[in-house]
Amino acid sequence: MRSGYTCLIVSIITRLMVVLLLCYLAFMTEYLNFKLAHNNARLVELSAGKPMRIFYEQTEKFFSMFGDPLETAQKNGGMTWSIRIMGVPFTDPVSAISVLAKNHRMEIGFVLGLIGPLALALVFGRVFCSYICSASLLFFSISRLRRLLLKWFYFPEWSLNRGFAWGVLIGGTLVCLAFGHGIWSLLLPYFAVGQTVFHGLAFGTLSVSFFSIVVFSIADLLLGKQFTCRYLCPTGRLLGWIGRRSLVSIRREAPRCLENCNACADICPMRIKPNQDETVDCSLCGECMIVCPTKCLSIAPIIGKRKVTAGSLK
């Protein structure tokens, strides 16, 4: 694929869908409640108003397509941290690590849930970060805001070594051993978003995770574009590592690439250098394809040896 704009639009749409799904799952409890308590659209309207009736009826109609609406509804649930969609489980690799460390045993459904995310990472690399992660839409918007503000203000671009995120993974697992898995709801941005959405919509309360989202957002705005994703989020690091030799990644046609151009490396939110054939950590966001003046970058299968430079760990 050659068009960066396609990537951009598709990624915005898929991430919006994930966020909407999260909101929807929070409301699903409401649907189940009415389904079991009333099972009657008119009663729903009387007790909760017209919008709820519309929500109830549409949900009912949608789930009836798959069989019994009650059973189908119960096949969906969770936050992006661990989620079931139509009964298919998806498990977060970080949650698998923390369960393995603390619990010493894994349930079969939990292990099966790992297949999807791992396969995705092996084929497309860190694609989760640009197309699925529910926090990344927020960080994407903040990086755009930062780019805008940089026209008038100066924020230095800080960098850490990417070992930092490995440190967060190790430290988080140790803290999790001493306390509980809940620590990840403060450390993982997408889990924090899931918690905040669920608490906000289902219980009408403010989750503590909201404060960690605020901290991450401020870091992104002031310290560097997608600072959280590059240096703090253990999942991004893990998926980047798993997908470091992914089948599909960003490919450069070297003869057409201009010397001293560096446009792609400057725009890349992951701060990798496509002009040096670096692909580790590429999330296929397509920003570099948009700015490349000669359009020599494309998303394509890469076969053969990868170049792993230290730059990808910066």
Partner: protein, 276 residues
Amino acid sequence: MFGSGYIHEKNNSPKFMQSRASSPREPLLDNTRMNGGWKQKLLYRVTFLKSVVLGAAATFLLPLLEFLPRKAGFKRWLRPPGALPESEFIKACTGCGQCANVCPNKCISLFGLEEGLGLLATPKIQARAQACILCMACTQVCPTDALEKLEPTEEGIRAVNMGIAVVSEDLCYSYSGRTCGVCYRACPLPGKALRLGLYETPIINEEFCVGCGLCEQACVHMPQAIRIVPRHQLNDPLQQTEEPTKENNRLDSVLDRRSFLKVRSKFHQSSDQVNP
């Protein structure tokens, strides 16, 4: 010249302030891992390890949240049915929230920091506000089997252990001679878990009571005359809730009452109009 279509971040800043890492000509650590000498490789490794340690150290600041001042919370929370013993449950539950998501009764909520970091994001039930109806939907969806799978049959219900109900004879209407028996009618195991004595006085059989809290939710006395002592307090004499009287557990009943009224007004007020 070519890059006019995008915003060149570092061009907006004075030269001396430009970030080292994104400057194109600077060799930096690039390619050292591939081409550099052993000194550079060592330097690279040391930088990397330093960052790992730094990252882990930064994470160790999180337990400081434990020392945040927090309001005295509601202690008599229950775990959803089928939950492993508390120590095991803590290890298994990842706080995914799927149980809270699927509960059609809206009785499961997730912990914030009110009970400390250890319980963060795990599920809880407040019986007086909304008690579990033992539909067992949550036990079917838990991905880590922190909630063991149970069926909503009598056998499944008998396997539940959330706590044990305690009656306060000071408060209960029936014990003061005004026949009530509402809790008996709410109990899913009537005649077994909760038997009635003379004037419908509730008598709990601890062997059968599963601690679902339906009796506590239903009790018509305010504050409730029947309460669940949760499983996690049963074996802990220090934490054990005393038998509720008007004097003790005041905080408990105030909290209960507040959430009770809130939930009631939210979910049931309007349905009262449906069935006058």
